[in-house]
């Protein structure tokens, strides 16, 4: 499925943020791998969600990364215009 421009932007942004949080090169972060496989714990998930909410200018709940646990699924969800769960 072709990703929308908006989804691509969000994926790249998330990749950059995770690269910083996880202290890994961005090229090594696979958008289809689950966040917990990268060792992202709940405290880190909370700060990622906060930053993401600021970037998108939306209120996002801390549980979002657990409902959409990869960069790809999360970006797809956020760019689709659905309300966060």
């Amino acid at each position: 499925m072709k990703t929308s421009p908006r989804q691509s932007e969000i994926e790249i942004w998330l990749g950059a943020l995770l690269s910083e949080v996880l202290e890994m090169p961005q090229a090594q972060i696979d958008p289809t791998v689950r966040f917990d496989r990268y060792g992202l714990d709940s405290a880190a998930a909370i700060s990622v969600t906060e930053e993401l909410g600021s970037y998108l200018e939306r209120e996002l709940e801390a549980t979002l990364l657990y409902d959409f646990p990869t960069i790809r699924s999360l970006a797809q969800h956020l760019s689709s215009g659905e309300q966060p769960r």
């Binding site: 709940s42 405290a43 998930a45 909370i46 969600t49 209120e59 709940e61 801390a62 549980t63 657990y66």
Partner: protein
């Protein structure tokens, strides 16, 4: 019945969390200051969910119209007030948080009494008709006790309830639980900064500790409702962040902000549960 050693959180540990500042809690809890998981079966409103939860426990405990009902861990007293609304003649609450007890006494609700007393020290002059305990059981054990001591502590609680209720009398209990997580997952952050000297039960421990004293009549696990409640509280705290900081400082506000989100995650993914049990007393042999 004599006092026994408190197997759970000390008065100091309880006051550390619950006596931070009544005005701070008023900013983000519901209007009735009910600090436990709501019951969201038929509503999307936090105030209604808290009222529904309290009414649920009054019904589960079969407390309506009874003479004497005990609330172990009575918080700011809303359940006690609601018991009197349900025609209970005497609603007695136990808490180790001095400010909570002072708040209740200041309301001068007829029929309501709040005591700064642990259930381990409480020696009533007469029996109760029903017992409710919501969001207190999580403080009846500590992380540093052995598994055997933990069960023994819980059993002491159920033994006391057993002896203070008539045969067929009910306890309505609400507590968080370990589900896919365990004691070893209880984070340092929570143990040192949020709920010191506390530990969660497993459902199996509640069953073991109450065996032969009570029959478990029904049980529900509403963990998703606690995720929802925590997120509702957190949203309110976020909206009133500036006021909260003015009351208790940025460090405290950041701690609570973080803990409420971590709780929501824990309940959402199933590392913790939220148990609501109805237990019926077998009666003394």
């Amino acid at each position: 019945m004599t006092s026994i050693d408190n197997p759970g959180a000390s008065a100091g540990a309880i006051q550390y969390h619950y006596d931070v500042s009544d005005e701070f809690y008023k900013l983000w809890l519901d209007e009735a200051m009910v600090y436990s998981c709501g019951l969201w079966d038929h509503t999307d409103n936090l105030e209604e969910a808290q009222r529904a939860k309290i009414d649920f426990h009054i019904e589960q405990a079969e407390a309506r119209g009874k003479q004497r009902v005990l609330d172990v861990g009575c918080g700011w007293g809303t359940t006690l007030q609601r018991l009197v609304d349900a025609d209970v003649k005497q609603a007695i609450g136990l808490t180790l948080a001095k400010r909570q007890a002072a708040h209740i006494e200041a309301q001068r609700w007829p029929g309501v009494e709040a005591r700064v007393e642990s259930w381990t020290d409480h020696t009533p002059t007469s029996r109760y008709d029903a017992i409710i305990s919501v969001g207190a059981f999580e403080h009846f054990a500590r992380l540093d006790t052995s598994p055997e001591q933990k069960i023994a502590g819980y059993r002491s609680f159920f033994q006391r309830c057993h002896e203070r209720l008539p045969p067929g009398g009910c306890v309505s209990l609400q507590t968080m639980s370990y589900e896919s997580s365990s004691r070893s997952d209880f984070s340092e952050f929570f143990a040192s900064q949020i709920f010191p000297e506390s530990d969660l039960p497993r459902l199996s421990e509640i069953a073991e500790a109450s065996e032969g004293l009570f029959e478990i009549v029904n049980l529900r696990n509403d963990r998703k409702m606690y995720a929802r409640t925590s997120l509702a509280w957190r949203a309110r705290l976020k909206r009133r962040r500036a006021e909260a900081i003015a009351l208790v400082g940025k460090d405290v506000v950041d701690r609570y902000d973080k803990y409420l989100q971590m709780w929501a995650i824990g309940f959402h993914v199933g590392s913790m549960g939220l148990l609501r049990l109805k237990l019926r007393n077998y009666g003394r042999k």
